[in-house]
Symmetry: C2
């Protein structure tokens, strides 16, 4: 049973952690958002790719949900000493990942090649593909500062500012990374992780070719709603949906994805929304979706695999 | 009494540390080699500028003589985990300096501006000028690998390989950083630190305009020999002089510098070389030159200031 998973960061990483024990490495392909990537201090930073690797390696900080366990912050303290840009916290261990990635990219390696090298170093066996090796950047239009890069919105502003539009710079010219379209064609089922539809999954869908493939395979595409009980489990998905004229609900998620997703898994607490979701032509599965511990994560992965089989 | 000092790394840093208590900040200008600079992992690294700052700030590692006290190595351990390039050790605290420098250069600041910001953050009051803001790189021709960048020779090969030539890439097109020529014109005396003549001071002299200025002021230029008792106090100056057809002695240093240096300070142990040095038309001062502790460093600085006055 081969599976491809469209991924953002934390939510996707947790879902993958549930799938890894159940799906053999060669059968599992993560197709990962790079719209969050940023160049900072001369380094290429890929937050979603790293969150997935660190999580699957069991090295992620449990407390923060991102970055590495056992992290220290000496480099950033020094940047602060100089009055430099220190709102984007880079731990010392994490910096090693960015140094390696930047060095390899400078040598001409693709983001995909470097990502595979990093995943391999952590002992991971799944295939982890950035959706594109080309430059794709999520830009967010805020009411008070105009259009700003995603990380300025997400980290510097703590996603605590009203947004009027989201744009994926470079998406039109971006080519799917080698292997991405094949994985979407060949996977028996395609999952959409409970990531932010607006700023994590949409940049993946914005790469030419991806949406067409999903549309063609809509019946085989299963998404997990990142909105539970009207709220995002993490991050600004709820707020963004409202600011962009939708509502913060699993129904809005179904509507958002309806062209490319045949089935939406929603949480038990939202069971009464199933009819409205089906009304949008999206099949609905009701299950516990909150991956708050390994057992629940494993249970959700089982639900998804059962839905597939 | 205004003084300009041509500087490499460790030897120059120690000499400056002796001078700082004796010469008011506004009267002291360090003109620093950038031929050792390197781009690694996407970061701009300026070893000589940093060694001077860290030393003058009292933050340098006493044990290593370079880098920062209280340093940790988490980032490099991670680079090693990935099989990356880890022969050039960058401490976590030190990385903060490179992150800040690289970020500011990326914003369009000159190396000189960034260096001043870094020096100011450490409370330094001297004027510290990279000899040029342009790209100048020392390249070393080795017998077994051909021409390699300086840090590959110095760090990766532990300067333990025979050298047949040294070249300063970019020197012809490099312009002295703003303030450098003025400092050389206006300083009452010009010192040449006991740095490596071949790979630390020569790249400074290679920047168009510098050598002419020194020649014109030769009588006011005082160098301290980095060769004591036929050996370099640190690094490969002795070996390089021999490999390039000279001898490892203070006499060879006098000969190397004779066009631009009017006076050479040599160590007591080399007192018998004074006549041979004077024979090259270089005035000779004999004094204890080994800056092995603060008292000896202060004493050498006093000797230099007395020689000047």
């Amino acid at each position: 049973m081969s599976i491809a998973v469209l991924c953002g960061g934390v939510g996707a990483a947790r879902l993958l952690r549930g799938l890894v024990p159940l799906v053999p490495g060669p059968e599992l392909t993560a197709i990962v958002n790079v719209g969050d990537d940023t160049e900072l201090h001369g380094l290429h930073i890929s937050p979603d790719l790293d969150t997935i690797v660190y999580t699957l390696a069991g090295a992620v900080s449990v407390e923060r949900g991102w970055g590495l366990e056992g992290e220290t912050w000496q480099a950033m303290a020094m940047v602060g000493h100089y009055g430099g840009v220190d709102w984007f916290s880079l731990g010392d261990r994490d910096l090693g990942t960015h140094l390696f990635r930047t060095h390899r990219l400078g040598q001409g390696a693709s983001l995909q090649e470097v990502s595979a090298e990093i995943a391999r170093a952590w002992g991971l066996t799944l295939t982890m593909l950035p959706v594109t090796n080309d430059r794709l950047r999520t830009l967010v239009t805020t009411v008070d500062e105009g259009e700003i890069p995603f990380q300025e919105y997400f980290v510097r502003r703590h996603h605590d500012v009203a947004v009027t539009a989201v744009r994926f710079e470079g998406a039109d010219a971006a080519r799917p990374a080698p292997g991405v379209l094949d994985a979407l064609d060949q996977a028996e089922r395609i999952l959409v992780a409970p990531s932010n539809p607006v700023v994590s999954i949409d940049p993946v869908l914005a790469v030419p070719g991806i949406t067409d493939r999903l549309r063609a395979r809509r019946d085989d595409v299963i998404a997990v709603s990142p909105i539970v009980g009207g709220r995002a489990l993490k991050g600004p998905a709820d707020r963004l949906l409202v600011e962009l004229g939708r509502e913060a609900s699993a129904v809005a998620v179904a509507e958002w994805y309806r062209d490319v997703v045949g089935t939406l898994v929603i949480d038990d607490v939202d069971a009464d929304l199933a009819p409205a979701i089906e009304h949008h032509g999206v099949r609905c599965i009701v299950a516990p979706t909150i991956m708050s511990d390994p057992a629940r994560t494993a249970a959700l992965a089982q639900v998804l695999l059962s839905a597939i089989r």
